[in-house]
Symmetry: C3
Subunit: 162 residues, 3 copies
């Protein structure tokens, strides 16, 4: 493909949610847009950081470690925004999606990576929640602040807050 990145239409997705259904929607839109030859950037903040975390403990201070425990686990531990109780909703959705041969979150995220979707982590969220680079999957492009995110959004055909 000779077309330069600068000339491709852009899409920006801010992901604040760590819920299964919201992440599923975010990655579906990201892969769909990338497959439509768009230049897609995702910015993960707050609970959304779960989507790009490795499955390891996070945090240094007392509060940071507490946050690391209550928000523990990686993308495979994301519960739906409803019926999250005891992981029931996650288990049920997992079953239903498997029955219909619908790709799970890990596959969707990998598809996004393979299609060139760029993933960024939010500077302030990382700092507050004491999540470090080593806690994030290697495919994360960079850690950025809000100004950088806004530059992407300004040039985008559409931009979502998920």
């Amino acid at each position: 493909m000779k077309q330069k990145t600068e000339e491709r239409k852009k899409a920006t997705i801010i992901v604040i949610s760590g819920d299964f259904d919201k992440l599923f929607a975010a990655f579906t839109i990201a892969t769909g847009a990338a497959a439509s030859n768009m230049d897609v950037s995702m910015f993960f903040t707050f609970w959304g950081l779960r989507a790009i975390k490795k499955n390891m403990r996070t945090g240094n201070s007392l509060f940071g470690r507490m946050m690391g425990i209550i928000e523990g686990g990686d993308i495979t531990k994301a519960n739906p925004s409803k019926y999250g109780f005891l992981g029931l909703g996650r288990w049920m959705f997992g079953k239903m999606m498997k029955n219909k041969n619908v790709a799970g979150l890990v596959e969707l995220r990998q598809m996004a990576i393979d299609l060139g979707v760029k993933m960024y982590s939010c500077e302030t969220s990382k700092e507050v929640m004491e999540i470090e680079d080593k806690n994030l999957i290697d495919e994360v492009v960079d850690t950025v602040g809000v100004t950088s995110m806004i530059k992407h959004a300004q040039k985008s055909e559409f931009s979502y807050f998920i």
Copy 2:
């Protein structure tokens, strides 16, 4: 009105939420935009499908029928995102809106339909949650995938994820 659809400004609204307040906002924006002569498309996915469901049981498999029960009912059963407990918030909001002569969800949706807002259901969500065409209100235009949604969003002046 002689102006062609292609020339009208477009708006796209993705509705993932089935919450009363979020649906109220979604239909308010949709009707407001349509009344401002915009060409509005709404895409209902996950819990948002509640907004375009008929009041009937859904699902075929064991899980599908379970989902049909716990997510039972149509738009009139939407609870607010807070104080949903025992339908209390829905009842209270209903009362408060009636007292102020504010249109309810069913009326707002009808207004959207009358103003030509186009409603689409999400293919994957329907499949996973085992919701069929016969379960949806007749005004739903089509069932579409993410690529179709993205085409709408690209051409839109604004696009929300609700």
Copy 3:
């Protein structure tokens, strides 16, 4: 700065949430965009009204006063969308942000005001929830309906629903 308001790039943020993390994101985007010389408008609706309320009782009718009690307090009482129980999450996030010298919600909102971010309250929400002008901070520019909000969104480079 000689550049006219009409020529600056615009951003629109609809705030339906009263959650700590969502408000934090909303004001971070607003201040970031304003600092990037954008003309930013925020529309506060439903639970989002908390962000521009004074710390005083609201409501006249029985329901209105009940709503005023259960949704009591101003922006300092905003709980995160998770772990809100007994104000625990709010307390913990407050501690963690202070430890990292990250600005709190009140400071962020003040920064937004100082940077010229325009704040509007939603007409219908105010009416339904019985929140009056005297209950809102003085910096609120105006109370508007959806048509006015849509005009802003149409002219915006990006617009979020938070």
